[in-house]
C-alpha cells in the first residue's frame, strides 16, 4: 500500500502553545482521510505544515516520499490546498482567478482560458464566470475554491473544513465533488468538525485534540468505540422518569444519563447502526407497554461532543490558540 502522506512525531509550536504536538499519520494513496477535531485542535496547523506553508518545529512529514521542508518544491508540485485560509482573490472574477492560476501553473494564454472555461462549466459556474468572486454565494465560493485546486490534477488535495458554514444542499454538492475527485485517484486529506462528514467521506479518520491524535481508525471502529448512538427521550410526566430509566437500562443494557431537564432521559447504545435501531424500537415498545408516555423520541449518531467525551472525558471545547 503506497502512502500519500506520512508524518512522524510532527510538532509545531506557537509561542507556548504546542499546536501540533507529536502527530503520526499514515494516509494511504487514493483515499479520503478525515482529520476530525474541534476548533483549535491543531487540524489547520497540521495541514499548513503538510502543504509547505509552515515549517515544523520537530518530527518529519512526507508527501509521496518528499520531505515537506527539504523538498518543498517537489511537494508543492503535487499538492493543492483549499480552505478558509487559502483562498482565491475576491476582487477578481471567477474566470480571471482560474486563468491566473492556470498561467502560473505553466499554461499558455489560450490553454489557460480553455482550462478555466472547462472547469467553470464542470462546476456549474459558467454563468458566474464574469462576476467578481466576492459576489458569489457560500456554495459557489466553495466550488470555485475547489475548481482552483484541480486546475492541475493534483496527487493530494487538502480540504480544510470545506463545508463549514454551508447550507445542507451546498454541503452535499461538495461531498459529491470530493467523491468524484477521489474516484479519479487523487488523495484527499479532509479536516472537519463534523463526525457525519468524516463518516460519509473518509475511509479512515484521525481524531485530534490539543495537537495529539487521540484515536485513529475506520469510521466503524471509531463509532463502536464510542457507541453507535444515543437514544433521547422526552417524557410528559416527571414522575415516570424512574420507570423510563429502568426500562431503558434493561432493554439497551447501557448507561442511562438523566439530564438537567427532569423530563429528559438519554442512553448510549453500542453495536452497529442496525442493532442500535432494533434495540431502540424494542425499548420504545417496552415503554409503551409499561404505560410511560413519551412526547419525543430520537435516535442520533454520536455527536462530536459525545465522541470527545468518550475519548477524552472532556467536551469538545471551543479553544482557539492565538
Amino acid at each position: 500500500m503506497e502512502l500519500a502522506i506520512e508524518t512522524s512525531a510532527l510538532v509545531k509550536v506557537f509561542g507556548t502553545t504546542r499546536a501540533v504536538d507529536g502527530i503520526d499519520l499514515a494516509v494511504p494513496a487514493g483515499t479520503v482521510y478525515g482529520v476530525l477535531g474541534p476548533n483549535g485542535a491543531g487540524k489547520t496547523t497540521a495541514v499548513r505544515v503538510l502543504a509547505t506553508l509552515a515549517r515544523p518545529d520537530g518530527g518529519e512529514a512526507r508527501v509521496f516520499g518528499h520531505d515537506v521542508v527539504r523538498e518543498a518544491d517537489a511537494v508543492r508540485a503535487r499538492v493543492s490546498l483549499t480552505g478558509q485560509y487559502a483562498s482565491i482573490d475576491e476582487d477578481l472574477t471567477g474566470m480571471e482567478n482560474l486563468v491566473l492560476l492556470a498561467r502560473l501553473l505553466g499554461h499558455r494564454k489560450a490553454g489557460a482560458r480553455e482550462r478555466a472555461a472547462r472547469l467553470l462549466d464542470a462546476f456549474g459556474l459558467s454563468d458566474a464566470a464574469g462576476r467578481q468572486v466576492k459576489q458569489y454565494s457560500g456554495g459557489m465560493r466553495r466550488r470555485i475554491d475547489i475548481a482552483a485546486s484541480i486546475i492541475r490534477t493534483p496527487d493530494v488535495v487538502f480540504l480544510d473544513e470545506p463545508t463549514t458554514g454551508l447550507d445542507p444542499r451546498s454541503r452535499n454538492q461538495v461531498w459529491e465533488i470530493v467523491r468524484i475527485i477521489v474516484a479519479q485517484g487523487t488523495t484527499v486529506l479532509l479536516t472537519t468538525q463534523y463526525l457525519d462528514e468524516a463518516d460519509h467521506l473518509a475511509s479512515r479518520i484521525a481524531v485530534i485534540d490539543h495537537g495529539k491524535v487521540i484515536a485513529e481508525g475506520t469510521p466503524g471502529e471509531l463509532k463502536s468505540s464510542v457507541g453507535s448512538g444515543s437514544v433521547h427521550l422526552r417524557l410528559r410526566d416527571t414522575a415516570q422518569r424512574p420507570a423510563a430509566e429502568r426500562i431503558l437500562a434493561r432493554t439497551l443494557g447501557a448507561a442511562v444519563q438523566s439530564g438537567a431537564d427532569p423530563l429528559t432521559v438519554t442512553a448510549r447504545i453500542s453495536g452497529s447502526d442496525l442493532v442500535a435501531a432494533e434495540q431502540a424500537s424494542r425499548a420504545l415498545a417496552e415503554l409503551a407497554h409499561a404505560g410511560v408516555t413519551v412526547d419525543d423520541f430520537s435516535l442520533g449518531q454520536p455527536s462530536l461532543d459525545e465522541v470527545f467525551l468518550a475519548l477524552t472525558d472532556h467536551p469538545a471545547t471551543e479553544e482557539v490558540p492565538a
Binding site: R48, A51, T52, L53, A54, R55, D73, R76, A77, V79, S80, L81, G83, Q84, Y85, A86, S87, I88, D89, E90, D91, L92, T93, E96, L100, L101, R103, L104, L105, G106, H107, R108, G111, R115, R118, L119, D121, A122, F123, G124, L125, A128, Q132, S137, G139, M140, R143, I150, R152, T153, R169, S170, Q173, E176, I177, I180, I181, A183, Q184, T186
Partner: protein, 280 residues
C-alpha cells in the same frame, strides 16, 4: 420552496464533465521567473480594473501635495511661486511617489489576511514572483502619479531645462528607486499583523525620511546635526539626482548614489522579505 432562484440550488456535480477535466492531458512545464512575475503583475492590473478607486492615492493625493506646498512655501521661501516651483516640483514628485510606495505593504498584508497568499505560496513557481509582480503593478501606479504631478507642474509654470529626455530620465530614476524601496514595505507587510500597524510604521518611517531632506528647503539653512542626517538620507540624493536630470545638468554623483542606494535596499530588504515569506 423559496422564490430565490440561485444557481447553486440547481447545480448537480456532473461526474462525466468533472472526470474529463480531472483526466485532461499532460501537465505544462513550470513557468519561468519572468513569466510568473509578469502574471502576478497582470493580477495587479486586474485589481486596478475592478477597484479603480485605488488610483485615488496616485492622482488626488499628489495633486493636493503639489498645490499645497507650492502655494504654502512658494511665496515665503523663494519670493515667487513660479521660481520656487522650479526647485520644488522634482522634490514633491519624489515625496509623493515615495509615500505611495507604502501601499505595497498594505497590499501584502491584505493578501495575507484574506488567505490569497497561502494559496499563492503553495504554487510551484519562482518564490519571489508574487511580490515582484505586485511591485511591478505598483510601478505602473508610480508612473501615473509622476505623470499627474508633472502635468500639473507644467500648468503651474514648471519649465524643466532638461527637456523631454531629462524629465523621462528623472521619472525613470524615481521609479527604479521606488521599486527597490518597496521591498521595505513588503517586509513590514509580512512582519506586522494588521493593515493599520503597517500604515502606522510606514508613516513613522516616511515622514522623517521625506521631510528631513532637501525637498523643501536648502540644507545649508539647517543646524549641523540635521545637515548630517540630510546628507546621508537617500531621499536627498534621489531628489538631487531627479532635479539635475530634469534641469538638464546631470549630476552623475547623485545619480550614482541613488542607484547604489537602490541596489542596497533591494539586496537587504529583498532578502529579509523572502526570508519572512518562506518562514511565515
Amino acid at each position: 420552496m423559496s422564490t430565490a432562484t440561485e444557481q447553486s440550488t440547481v447545480y448537480r456535480p456532473a461526474e462525466a464533465s468533472l472526470n474529463a477535466v480531472l483526466a485532461a492531458g499532460e501537465q505544462p512545464p513550470r513557468p519561468g521567473a519572468l513569466s510568473a512575475s509578469l502574471t502576478f503583475g497582470w493580477r495587479a492590473m486586474l485589481k486596478i480594473k475592478h477597484v479603480p478607486e485605488q488610483l485615488f492615492d496616485v492622482t488626488a493625493f499628489p495633486i493636493i501635495m503639489t498645490l499645497m506646498f507650492t502655494y504654502l512655501f512658494g511665496g515665503a521661501l523663494a519670493g515667487s511661486v513660479t521660481e520656487y516651483l522650479q526647485f520644488l516640483l522634482p522634490g514633491v514628485l519624489v515625496t509623493s511617489v515615495v509615500m505611495i510606495t507604502m501601499y505595497t505593504g498594505v497590499g501584502v498584508n491584505i493578501d495575507i489576511e484574506k488567505g490569497v497568499f497561502d494559496r499563492i505560496r503553495t504554487l510551484p513557481v519562482w518564490r519571489p514572483a508574487a511580490l515582484v509582480g505586485m511591485i511591478l503593478g505598483d510601478m505602473f501606479r508610480y508612473t501615473i502619479a509622476s505623470a499627474v504631478i508633472l502635468v500639473l507642474g507644467l500648468i503651474l509654470g514648471f519649465r524643466p531645462g532638461g527637456g523631454v529626455a531629462g524629465v523621462l530620465a528623472g521619472i525613470a530614476l524615481l521609479v527604479v528607486f521606488s521599486f527597490a524601496f518597496s521591498w521595505v514595505w513588503t517586509m513590514f507587510g509580512l512582519l506586522l499583523r494588521t493593515e493599520k500597524s503597517v500604515m502606522g510604521v510606514s508613516m513613522l518611517v516616511l515622514f522623517p525620511l521625506t521631510f528631513l531632506s532637501n525637498v523643501f528647503v536648502d540644507p545649508a539653512t539647517m543646524p549641523g546635526w540635521l545637515q548630517a542626517f540630510v546628507e546621508v538620507n537617500p531621499i536627498t540624493h534621489l531628489v538631487g539626482g531627479v532635479r539635475s536630470l530634469m534641469a538638464g545638468t546631470w549630476d552623475a554623483g547623485e545619480i550614482m548614489w541613488t542607484l547604489i542606494a537602490s541596489a542596497a535596499l533591494l539586496a537587504v530588504f529583498g532578502t529579509l522579505t523572502m526570508r519572512l515569506y518562506n518562514r511565515k
